[in-house]
């Protein structure tokens, strides 16, 4: 009887250790996941706050080069801005431009620097709207005349 009582206690002890360990493991795993996601979200928010740019063209005089319209994009944010077809998308009069139809002179620009964005498009005379969407969906809209 004495032995079975001890055995029961040992079984209860082991069971409680296993249950507590499992609960702790799940608890730690969930906390790590939530914490990592929060950290990644924080990085994205930080990038959003650091990113800003502006089209600085004269809206009445858009220069052309080899059939491309040339737009000047200035990094007015606080960190290096990657200027590639993958990080930037452009909309002309509301229609997205194919990636092959625009390119940048530089792959990145530091704060306060300006790069040229070359866009090929069939634009009629009159006013048009260029919307440039950059990293983290930061965008700038520019009205211009052809």
């Amino acid at each position: 009887m004495g032995f079975s009582l001890t055995g029961t206690h040992v079984i209860f002890f082991i069971a409680s250790i296993i249950v507590a360990g499992a609960v702790s493991g799940v608890f730690i795993a969930v906390t790590m996941n939530v914490s990592n996601s929060f950290s990644e979200r924080g990085d994205r928010v930080q990038e959003q706050l650091d990113t800003d740019f502006e089209i600085i063209n004269d809206p009445n005089e858009i220069p052309t080069s080899n059939g491309y319209y040339v737009f000047y994009l200035m990094n007015t944010g606080g960190k290096r801005l990657l200027t590639t077809n993958e990080t930037f998308h452009i909309f002309l009069d509301g229609e997205i431009a194919a990636v092959a139809n625009y390119h940048f002179n530089d792959t990145y620009i530091q704060p306060s620097e300006v790069t040229e964005m070359h866009v090929i498009a069939a634009l009629s005379g009159g006013s048009h709207i260029l919307r440039v969407v950059g990293p983290q969906a930061i965008d700038d809209e520019f009205n211009f005349m052809i």
Partner: protein
Amino acid sequence: MGFSLVAAAAIIGVSILVCTEIIIGNVSPTITGINDSYDDMKNRAIEQVQTDINITSATTASNGSNYDLNVAVKNTGSVSLKTSDFSILVDGTKQQFTCSDSYLYPEKTVYFNVNNIAGNGLERLKIITDKGISDYYSYILP
């Protein structure tokens, strides 16, 4: 039974401490980073609001079939501006330039020189600061 309860509570207690450490270790630098970025963004916005320039004059001189341009720009804002970060557009095209000073201090005027520009008739000039603040000016070539 009592010892089992204590052991289980100890394990869960340790896991709570580990989780707390994980949360503090991750959340604290994230919040600090966001706070720093927010401060930087706020300072940029303040500088933009406090930045203003005025093109006071633009004189031209003949240079063969082209012309040279001398532009006087006054800082009418309250922030000092680095002149090498300026951009000058003549008839929409960005031009290389030289400047009389490295910095444009509030209420001071600096002179930008742009050489060998092609053009005729009415010309449009746009000068942009490093924060995207700009001013326009028109002049007629003789």
